[in-house]
């Protein structure tokens, strides 16, 4: 008996352990769940199961989204939100990356900084909103501060852990080749941990969106969250849903951007071209 690839000799079933799925099927299945979701939603609205005032149909939401951008200057709200995210996240990274790497590399730095960092991790950032509002009023500062507090301590810890996991043998190899501490830090530890730093940044940027919306909903007149709170006052559920959709799409875009950056910055990790 001869077995050719694609022959029917081998069993093919829908649900199989340890068997990867082809790219076309991944795409089809991934799109279908959204089609089903929006389909049920649309049907629910059209058939009158739900109050269209509280739940507008997906088509209405898309139309509203278009109007928001085209006629009601929503783009500037989106721009402000993105600027807040990027600004505070950049500051958090500038502190967290060097500090996390130093804490993961040198026990003395860890012993000094970690008791502080760990404690802050257990304080939910929104707990600081009242005091931030008292200190900074309703300007940009309290929003940036909330975002900063929400991500920095987790970012430091993630980077510290990844750095501590850089393989001992790599560092010891460099030591027996005559490397001094700063050489080893820059030529072994940093390049070894950089891919994981990027992954940690990607994870924490997703969290940053959460704090952004909280900040904008509670105390802001600009940004995506503020637009949604304004809409609530006038029962514009379609505006609110368009805002949610925008946040979702932006989150996805940033995620895609980070994946792309990972591939561009670390091509040597790609085993595909064997």
């Amino acid at each position: 008996m001869t077995v050719r690839s694609g022959s029917s000799v081998y069993r093919r079933r829908w649900f199989e352990f340890l068997t990867p799925l082809g790219q076309p099927w991944r795409l089809i299945l991934g799109v279908s769940i959204w089609v089903i979701f929006f389909g049920i939603w649309e049907i629910a609205v059209l058939s009158g199961w739900v109050n269209p005032l509280l739940v507008p149909s997906p088509v209405d939401v898309l139309i509203t989204l278009y109007e928001l951008f085209a006629e009601r200057g929503f783009l500037s709200d989106v721009g402000i939100s993105i600027a807040r995210i990027l600004g505070s996240f950049a500051v958090a990274c500038v502190i967290a990356i060097p500090l996390g790497i130093l804490m993961g590399s040198f026990k003395a730095v860890e012993a000094f900084a970690n008791p502080f960092v760990s404690a802050w991790r257990y304080l939910p950032a929104p707990a600081f909103i009242p005091i931030l509002l008292m200190w900074f009023g309703t300007g940009e500062e309290p929003k940036l501060a909330l975002l900063f507090l929400g991500v920095i301590f987790f970012l430091i810890t993630l980077i510290m852990d990844h750095t501590a996991q850089v393989r001992t043998e790599l560092i010891e190899t460099a030591m027996t080749l005559g490397g001094n501490r700063s050489q080893i830090l820059w030529t072994v530890v940093v390049p070894a941990v950089l891919p994981n730093v990027l992954i940690a940044m990607r994870q924490m940027l997703a969290i940053a969106w959460t704090y952004l919306v909280i900040a904008e909903i509670i105390a802001s007149t600009t940004g995506i969250g503020a637009m949604m709170m304004r809409a609530r006052r006038f029962l514009h559920t379609d505006d609110i849903m368009a805002g949610i959709l925008t946040i979702g799409v932006l989150g996805l875009l940033f995620d895609v951007m980070f994946r792309w950056l990972y591939r561009v910055l670390f091509p040597y990790l790609d085993q595909g071209e064997r």
Binding site: L170, M175, T176, L177, A192
Partner: protein, 273 residues
């Protein structure tokens, strides 16, 4: 103190005198890994540390590398006490240590870059050692694209290109399949002859020890110490380049049997851990 001498009167490159190492463990009893280890390695010889698992071979090697501080005793290289890691004692590990973010060539140049060797000389030396380990075709590849044996050859070339006084290797071929290991041993043999290096290596492969070793320090457990120094003098004056050359020699079988017997005595009851 000046350079020590062996009984044969040859100047010893490496000299260990009553070296002991006790690991302090936070919970539980201290572990006396090594007790009163003494041996010498003459210049340009390959010295093999052989013995059952857990007898402290890696610990001895790491102390020579300067990665572990002895509890007591004296370690000397060229008459100078060993204090910390240094380029004069380059080490090849059992686990792969290629830097994934550097090409093969950049990996081999790495040590020289740390030591500020001029670019031109770096290039030339790297090319020479990459050729020596047979990876010229792969000099622009990244380690992820190489097999295990090739990665280990990169590590050897990287260490040799850095021009160490003594080459340290901890079971460098332990993770390789039998055939690759065999190729690597023959490659090592030719490199050692061509480059005239002093080597201290750890293995628990008896054949490898006899094939590569000019002297074998057989270590025992409980305590971890040198039990017997074996000099495979049946090889003396013979030119051995392949495993077949070795196995065909008179005296090989006897020595292998002798070491097997030692192994059985020492490693029979594997009761710890």
């Amino acid at each position: 103190m000046t350079s020590a001498t062996t009984t044969a009167g040859v100047s010893a490159k490496l000299h260990l005198q009553d070296v002991s190492k006790t690991f302090r463990v936070r919970h539980g009893d201290d572990i006396e890994a090594i007790k009163a280890v003494s041996f010498e390695t003459p210049e340009n010889e390959v010295c093999v540390l052989l013995g059952p698992s857990g007898c402290g071979k890696s610990t001895v090697l790491r102390m020579v590398a300067g990665l572990e501080e002895p509890t007591s005793g004296e370690l000397m290289l060229d008459g100078h006490p060993i204090a910390g890691a240094d380029r004069e004692r380059g080490m090849v590990f059992q686990a792969y240590t290629s830097f994934d973010w550097l090409t093969v060539q950049a990996n081999v140049e790495y040590g020289m870059r740390l030591n500020a060797v001029p670019k031109k000389e770096r290039r030339e030396r790297a090319a020479h050692f990459i050729e020596l380990v047979g990876l010229t075709k792969f000099s622009q590849s990244y380690p992820k694209q190489l097999s295990g044996g090739m990665k280990q050859r990169v590590a050897i070339a990287r260490t040799l290109a850095n021009d160490p006084t003594i080459l340290l290797m901890d079971e460098p071929f332990g993770a390789l399949d039998a055939q690759t290991r065999w190729h690597m041993q023959e490659l090592m043999m030719s490199i050692v002859e061509a480059a005239n290096t002093t080597v201290l290596m750890v293995t628990h492969d008896i054949e490898e020890a006899i094939f590569l070793g000019d002297r074998i320090e057989f270590m025992s457990r409980h305590p971890g110490t040198v039990h017997e120094e074996i000099i495979p003098d049946f090889k003396r004056g013979k030119r051995i380049t392949t495993k077949e050359d070795l196995i065909g020699l008179d005296g090989y079988g006897d020595l292998e049997r002798h070491i097997l017997k030692l192994m059985r005595e020492q490693g029979g009851d594997d009761t710890d851990h």
